[in-house]
């Protein structure tokens, strides 16, 4: 168990990535009770937006200058895609049965994948994404890749900003009110259509931050990256209690830790030597989900809600 601190660090970093994406699922669900299965692709287009900005910069630009520009481009692309999706794909179905927007989301997800696959230059296979250059650095027995610095700084900042926004600003309070009771919120003078757009936009901005972090970590982006990342993030959102923003981050961290620890230790348990290692990590992630939902169907921080009258 001598590498436990390292495994915990890996788990937390991976978990923060899941958490950032999970925010998008949970915010949209909290406001319109829609599971936006296209959210993984919102992450993906953000990654390609950032890559485009990087490629457009002159050759020798240092990454410290390029990174903010990439981030802005990624956020812009993700947000515009999400807002357009809301306007043209989801809003017309606002009062349709729940299944209709769900199917639309899956369709949109495939559409966005194919759009990038077909029209982005050389996107048929993974495109190289820059990494933060330099050796990994060590804190005691823990080694951290330089590229992960971005996530280590960005994730807590994003969460603090979001927490402050939701509780301390007029728009944030309107958002809480809309998620608790949209009809009453309207009668309090809140333009709920605007709030819905805002929820999609914030989720997309977080998705773009996650996309840049993912690109830096893995050194590549590809048109399928949103699928498994989106699925894991959705799992994290459910794990934490869907609709709760802190739950999304907590769920992400829990999922990341579970994956890291399962990868590192399951094979050392008696009789389990076949089930360890990276190949099984997804299995253990979903086992965790099933176990938590058996005990707490509403998720870690979710509240038991009676069906809306």
């Amino acid at each position: 168990m001598h590498d436990l601190p390292q495994q915990l660090a890996n788990g937390l970093i991976l978990g923060a990535l899941y958490g950032l994406v999970a925010i998008g699922y949970t915010m949209v669900y909290g406001i319109v009770q829609l599971i936006n299965f296209a959210h993984g692709e919102i992450v993906m287009v953000g990654g390609f937006g950032a890559l485009t900005a990087y490629l457009a910069l002159p050759g020798g630009t240092t990454l410290w200058l390029a990174l903010p520009l990439m981030l802005i481009a990624g956020v812009l692309v993700s947000t515009l895609t999400a807002v357009a999706a809301e306007r043209f794909a989801y809003r017309p179905l606002r009062n349709a049965p729940r299944l209709a927007p769900l199917i639309t989301a899956i369709g949109l997800s495939i559409f966005l994948q194919q759009l990038v696959f077909s029209f982005y230059p050389d996107a048929k296979k993974a495109r190289v994404f820059p990494k933060i250059p330099g050796d990994p650095f060590s804190l005691g027995s823990v080694t951290i890749q330089r590229s992960d610095l971005f996530l280590i700084i960005a994730a807590p900042l994003c969460m603090l900003a979001l927490g402050w926004f939701v509780t301390r600003t007029r728009s944030g309070r309107a958002m809480q009110a809309t998620s608790q009771d949209p009809d009453t919120a309207k009668l309090m003078g809140i333009d709920t259509d605007r709030i819905i757009v805002m929820a999609f936009a914030i989720g997309a901005a977080f998705a773009a931050v996650a996309a840049v972090a993912y690109g830096l970590r893995s050194g590549q982006v590809d048109f399928r990256m949103g699928f498994i990342l989106g699925l894991k993030a959705f799992t994290a959102a459910v794990l934490g209690g869907i609709g709760n923003i802190y739950g999304a981050m907590l769920g992400g961290l829990a999922l990341g830790l579970a994956e890291a620890l399962a990868t590192g230790y399951i094979q050392h348990l008696p009789g389990m030597h076949l089930f360890g290692g990276g190949a099984w990590k997804d299995v253990w992630a979903f086992v965790l989900l099933i176990l938590v939902l058996l005990v707490r169907p509403q998720g870690l921080l979710g509240e038991r809600v009676a069906d809306r009258a």
């Binding site: 900003a161 926004f165 301390r168 600003t169 007029r170 728009s171 944030g172 309070r173 309107a174 809480q176 009110a177 608790q180 009771d181 009809d183 009453t184 919120a185 309207k186 009668l187 309090m188 003078g189 809140i190 333009d191 709920t192 805002m198 509240e303």
Partner: protein
Amino acid sequence: MTTTAAPLLEVTGVTMRFGGLTAVNDVSLTVGEGEIIGLIGPNGAGKTTFFNCLTGLYVPTEGTVRYRDVQLPPKPHLVTQAGIARTFQNIRLFANMTVLENVLVGRHTRTKEGIFSAILRGPGYHRAEAESRAKAMELLEFTGLADKAEHLARNLPYGEQRKLEIARALASDPGLLLLDEPTAGMNPQETRAAEELVFAIRDKGISILVIEHDMRFIFNLCDRTAVLVQGQKIVEGDRETVQNDERVITAYLGAPLEEAAPAAEGTTPAAPEDTK
């Protein structure tokens, strides 16, 4: 029209149909500046539906609603912006927000804050936020909830939840307040306190349209009372007019037996036992 000034609220021929059911049928009503108007009627008479037509939750099938001589748009948030606020028959607070936050949400239309000024936290943000909070606290003082500002709304006792709904409605600086059964489930003392509160609101210059079942409450408060039966307004006037109107008595108590009996005898002998 040769009248001097248009009334605050002018409802003309509002009809609301749901499929084949006519819930509100050709109802006209005016509320003047500084008036308290009552709206009574048996359960299912269409009172709340009528309120929903006024506040843009429903778009009336026919008829118009004008406020300060402007036709109201059929969007709830624009109606609130225009100056009409309401409370609900079944309490509809934001249960998981604090008392203060509920009132701040009510203030939404009267504050301006773009998402960018909030992110940048400029001086405008701090000023607007401080003003909103001061105004909200003032309303909580007014309704007697100031010491519970930080409690979660769902933890308040029932009577105070009703008060909070009123405080939240007042936060939008309305010119007209619609109260939907404000004393439902209250004991007599609480009802008296609610009467005082309604008068105090009127003294702030806010007109009130109130739905109630408590007749004493209605007749103590209201300048005029309209009676709605099966979607139709059958009478409107002061206490005497309403209390002595035979159609109102019939609607609430049923037709007197002496009149019903001979009519029933003509049809079937067994009818009197059934008409209970």
